[in-house]
């Protein structure tokens, strides 16, 4: 599944980061690399973007961009 499909309050492990150019590079630079655990903290009031917690900091990205990130859901928090 992709990161945008993950529910608020659940976590996933990144498998791969798709996309290209500046956006993909930015995602990688911010620490969204394979095998990183990502927790979905919340969704913005208007339904987008989403707030992630990873590498002990908070990051916000848009849903459409999160859709480029392939993850494995972590079943147990």
């Amino acid at each position: 599944m992709t990161l945008d499909q993950l529910k608020t309050g659940s976590s996933g492990i990144i498998i791969s980061v798709g996309g290209s150019g500046a956006l993909r590079r930015r995602l990688l630079d911010m620490g969204l690399t394979p095998n990183t655990k990502v927790y979905i903290r919340k969704v913005a009031p208007l339904g987008d973007p989403i707030e992630l917690h990873l590498r002990s900091y908070e990051l916000t990205i848009r849903r459409e961009d999160a859709a480029n990130i392939e993850i494995d859901e972590v079943v147990d928090g």
């Binding site: 630079d29 620490g31 009031p45 973007p49 916000t60």
Partner: protein, 668 residues
């Protein structure tokens, strides 16, 4: 000795810079881009000059901030790099550090916010960290000024003794092989143009186009490098960019495993999550935001700003009155008398009248920015602005545009990308500023007494609609292609330091005075000359004989298709360029009304129909902003040409839309 201060956004870089330099700093621009370049001399160390580079996360070649930083480091070759990192968020911060280490420039790592790490019961083994990554590491707390003198001593030493980063051994396996193979190929060329070879090799593995172009490699060399990278990708089963990001983070994870002892998130981080429970709440986020911004507006443009402006007016008026008396007493020539009172004093007065607003507004804005709330606003509002190709970050500057375009344009400086800054600057003037309100009020009263509120609201909405259409247009034309990705950190909430806020307010006030003074002053004098003399430079008694009136008459036909071809209307639009309030006062003078209360019945003489009056309001709403705003826009775009072009386009748009609306209204 030149020291480059580099770090991520929100890592306390500005606080450290202020601690190092005090008020001993000045802001400039990197050539050709609207990226701030702050410089200062370290206090009590006159030989040490610090350059505060933009807050960035990586040395990728994509944003102008990153490119400017790279160019500065490679071409200007600072004597030392002072890399400040947030110790509470060490993993992501070290990512930039690893790239900086490859530049082969003496470097010291400042581990900021160590007080927060300690007070939360966590610890970082600084000695071990230093030994592992091969850099001098100094734990500090920039906000409490702890460890800063030790830091200065270490940086001075590193620069003086040319202490280079000792460790380059953070690449593994296939990446290691690729980097070293490419190093051998490019070494002569990199050395020849003075580019650090290790940095260049890593960037080539990443597929960095600007670096490839810079090195001027032969086709054969490029071909070999291509094979090396292809091979690496094949063996690793991943692509070049991911491979390198993964390599850096894997190394950082190892380092942190060994040196960072973390029992829990810091108290500040835990508290932030709780505060966000309210401030970015699904239901409450937007009402709270509206409440906060209303309070800021009310205090700025109402309570505090108005009080300060009132005092200022009283002060200026009394000085003006005294001077007026003195000049009368001395029997000074009437032309010079008028020049001093109506030209010079009026000019200075109009420049100063912006100051209270700017100072008060930037007090609140730096409070919101430095506390971390602005990032939340961007998070909450992003969806609204995305469609026009902007991000949530632009929301607040555009909102301030409803108060005054000048501080709104100045506020775009906090936007993290140059593209967003330029686009926001182009669109902000369409937000109807508060100086236009008196014009709407007088006209609504005169022409639409029953529908006054509706007319006003329609104008505000029209401004926003034009901004949205303008945004859509810009997005698909000039700013086509790479929008800067909205991948934004939500930093922990922190109490902003009084010093940083004070310096920020001072910087903005000074900036405005220095840059805007000449332009506003000259404009006021020019308008005074035009108003006071005819073309033979005789002073006029009847304002309809002045040069300004003549110019008004010449350009009046341009506005005839909009329904207001009367020379008095066009003259008022010209004086409106000094300040929008002047539109009403000029109309009052030219119709002989004396004051705006008596103006109401006389306006019908200039604007024959309601449609014409509304069309005039539409034009006033949209045409180029006042000279103070123009001066600020020129400063922020760092180009007179771009500023003039954007004003011309705006005025053209105003004409076109007023024309369309006028014609539509006539059909009704």
């Amino acid at each position: 000795m030149i020291i480059a201060l580099i770090g991520n956004q929100n890592c306390g870089k500005t606080t450290l810079f202020n601690q190092l330099t005090g008020s001993n700093q000045h802001v400039g621009n990197f050539p050709g881009v609207t990226v701030d370049r702050k410089e200062g001399i370290i206090r009590k160390h006159e030989s040490m000059q610090v350059v505060d580079l933009p807050g960035i996360y990586s040395l990728s070649p994509y944003t102008s901030e990153e490119v400017v930083t790279r160019d500065f480091l490679i071409k200007d070759k600072p004597d030392a790099i002072l890399n400040i990192i947030d110790a509470t968020n060490i993993e992501r911060n070290l990512y930039l550090t690893l790239q900086l280490m490859e530049l082969n420039i003496p470097m010291v790592l400042a581990l900021n916010m160590m007080d927060e790490v300690r007070s939360s019961g966590n610890s970082i083994d600084v000695k071990k960290l230093s030994a592992t990554i091969g850099l001098e590491v100094v734990p500090i707390s920039a906000s409490k000024n702890e460890g800063v003198s030790e830091l200065i001593a270490r940086v001075e030493e590193a620069g003086r003794l040319h202490l280079l980063p000792k460790n380059h051994d953070f690449c593994r396996g296939e990446v290691h092989t690729a980097i070293h193979a490419i190093k051998h190929i490019i070494e002569p060329k990199a050395d020849a143009i003075g580019v650090p070879v290790r940095f260049a090799a890593t960037k080539l593995v990443e597929g960095d186009q600007p670096m490839l172009a810079q090195l001027g490699l032969t086709e054969y060399e490029i071909d070999i490098i291509g094979h090396i990278v292809d091979n690496m990708e094949k063996v690793m089963g991943t692509d070049r960019e991911a491979a390198l990001a993964d390599m850096r983070y894997s190394y950082i994870e190892e380092v942190c495993e060994a040196c960072v002892h973390k029992h829990q998130e810091t108290y500040e981080q835990q508290l932030s999550v709780k505060i966000d429970g309210l401030l970015t709440h699904r239901v409450w986020a937007i009402p709270i935001f509206i409440a906060i911004m209303s309070l800021v507006f009310w205090l700025t443009f109402g309570v505090i700003g108005a009080t300060l402006s009132g005092w200022l007016t009283v002060g200026i008026d009394s000085v003006t009155a005294l001077t007026d008396q003195a000049l009368t007493g001395l029997n000074v020539n009437t032309a010079i008398h008028s020049l001093i009172i109506d030209g010079v004093f009026a000019g200075v007065g109009s420049v100063l009248s912006f100051l209270p607003t700017i100072v008060v507004l930037f007090f609140f804005l730096s409070l919101l920015e430095d506390s971390g709330y602005m990032a939340r606003v961007a998070f909450v509002m992003d969806k609204l602005l995305r469609k026009i190709g902007l991000s949530g970050r632009s929301f607040v500057p555009m909102l301030i545009g409803f108060g005054c375009t000048v501080p709104a344009v100045m506020a775009t400086r906090t936007l993290s990308s140059e593209r967003d800054r330029k686009m926001t600057i182009a669109l902000t003037p369409f937000m109807s500023c508060s100086a236009k309100l008196p014009i709407y009020a007088v006209f609504s009263q005169a022409f639409f007494p029953k529908y006054a509120p509706l007319v006003m609201i329609s104008l505000y909405v029209l401004g926003m609609v034009v901004a949205v259409l303008g945004g859509l247009l810009l997005k698909s034309t000039i700013f086509k292609g790479n929008p800067v990705p909205f991948v934004m950190e939500l930093p922990a909430y922190r109490l902003p330091s009084g010093k940083t806020i004070a310096l920020h307010m001072w910087e903005k006030a000074k900036d405005f005075l220095v840059r805007a003074f000449t332009i506003i002053f000259v404009a006021t004098i020019v308008i005074w000359v035009l108003q006071t003399f005819d073309f033979r430079f005789n002073m006029v008694t009847d304002s309809s004989q002045s040069m300004l009136a003549m110019i008004g008459s010449v350009i009046a036909p341009i506005f005839a298709p909009l329904g207001f071809g009367d020379w008095r209307a066009s003259t008022a639009l010209i004086t409106g360029l000094t300040a929008k309030e002047a539109v009403v006062s000029t109309l009052a003078v030219l119709t002989g009304a004396g004051n705006s209360a008596m103006l109401t019945p006389l306006l019908a003489g200039i604007f024959p129909t309601q449609a014409a009056a509304y069309s005039f309001l539409v034009f006033t709403l949209l045409y180029m902003p006042c000279v103070a705003a123009f001066a600020t826009i020129k400063r922020e775009l760092t180009s007179l040409k771009k500023a003039v072009v954007s004003m011309a386009i705006q005025t053209g748009v105003a004409w076109l839309i007023a024309f369309i609306i006028y014609r539509l209204l006539l059909l009704l």
